[in-house]
Symmetry: C2
Subunit: 224 residues, 2 copies
DNA sequence: GTCTATATTCGGATAGAC
DNA sequence: GTCTATCCGAATATAGAC
């Protein structure tokens, strides 16, 4: 028997942590769990996350995760909200550009880059691959705010009407998807994204911007 | 004891099935298994296919499936090839249109419709959802042929160069993806697909086709 | 080729003490 | 909130008889 547990004079009773301090610790741990879940998802696939592995990474036993999440689907819900918030914050962090069209291009670039950085994040946010997973209303909140932001920028650039907005979303989603599939981490599709915005979704009367680094589409004998 | 097994005069020995007859029966069973696998995937999700359930549906015991497929990933491989072949055959079945642009539009419509008809098929063919699954070279063969066909049609319509072809693929994929997500089975995005082809990927000198049912894009105050 | 029986592993989730 | 212990079910895959 060692004396490691011998009485020391200091009583057992820790100074009771204030309720909000406890809440902050809890929130921090939740955040850490979600972050490790992303990391695991990148390794094993989104559906391949194991709660045992996850618990290991955050120094918990597997059942203890249930103190933070009601179920595995609930964990996906938190990851979804986290991912949507990352996207929203990235767009808000940038200094908005004065010119409406430039700003629209910038936001599309943000989105395409965002998607290409992390394939599984893209999958959870924009593809429905987890059977039974449906984001809760709360988890959808940052997604709604992003959509709102996008709609505003489109309107400012002269794109209005549901049909136009839908078409725009579809094309941007396609670019993001291709970027993810073909050139993750690359810049190639970002350039194409800009071209699409400039050709298809801006006022035809407006003179084309003078950007020598971007080819104008010709549809005839395009180089390379 | 019934007399169901009483000797009948006809000897046990069945006329030995010819080797190719046996091969045909085997191929037919494989096809049936794949078909039921699609059906199960639609119900439970692509990753949710259970070999037990699948075996039930084709009147086999679960281990017997291993007489037809080496593993579950191998089954996904067969499904992938099957799906790609369906797409290819649909495009080849149609009478090709004389006008190159019309033909290009038609093939895009084929693809978007194809994707929207079956979400999980779209997922297996065009999204990478199953961890560890990579289509074999053999399974990729119909996919290669489809790409070839598409490249031909694009060239005929005056779209050339890797950059143009990539952009086209991205946009079509985006349309397909949106159709799947927002309006499965509907025709809405097929219409938009046509519009994209006509705006972005055809010779600007060519007069626009006279199709009163399709709005020309205005980017200003589009209705609805 | 099909079966029965079983190996093996792993999954998510719960009970209850502390 | 965290632990230990455990439940229960399901999964893919293999062995070996017929």
């Amino acid at each position: 028997m060692s004396d490691r547990f011998a009485p020391t004079g200091r009583p057992h009773q820790r100074p009771t942590a204030s309720p909000d301090r406890r809440a902050r610790r809890r929130a921090a741990k939740r955040a850490r769990i979600v972050a490790e879940a992303w990391s695991l998802a990148r390794r094993d696939g989104l559906a391949g996350i194991s709660l045992r592995d996850l618990a290991d990474r955050v120094d918990l036993q597997q059942p203890s995760l249930y103190a933070y999440f009601e179920s595995k689907l609930d964990l996906y819900g938190s990851m979804f909200e986290d991912g949507q918030r990352q996207l929203l914050e990235r767009c808000l962090a940038r200094e908005p550009l004065a010119d409406a069209r430039d700003e629209l291009v910038a936001i599309v670039e943000d989105l395409v880059r965002f998607s290409s950085e992390d394939v599984v994040r893209h999958q959870l946010l924009f593809q429905r691959t987890i059977p039974g997973f449906e984001p809760s209303d709360a988890a959808m909140e940052p997604a709604r705010r992003f959509l709102e932001l996008m709609t505003d920028r489109l309107r400012a650039a002269g794109v209005e009407g549901q049909s136009e907005v839908d078409l725009f979303s579809a094309i941007v989603a396609g670019l993001a998807h291709q970027q993810v599939a073909n050139d993750p981490g690359g810049d190639r599709w970002v350039v194409l994204a800009r071209r699409v915005v400039e050709t298809l979704f801006t006022d035809a009367d407006r003179p084309p911007p003078n950007r020598p680094d971007i080819e104008r589409p010709t549809t005839q004998g395009a180089p390379q």
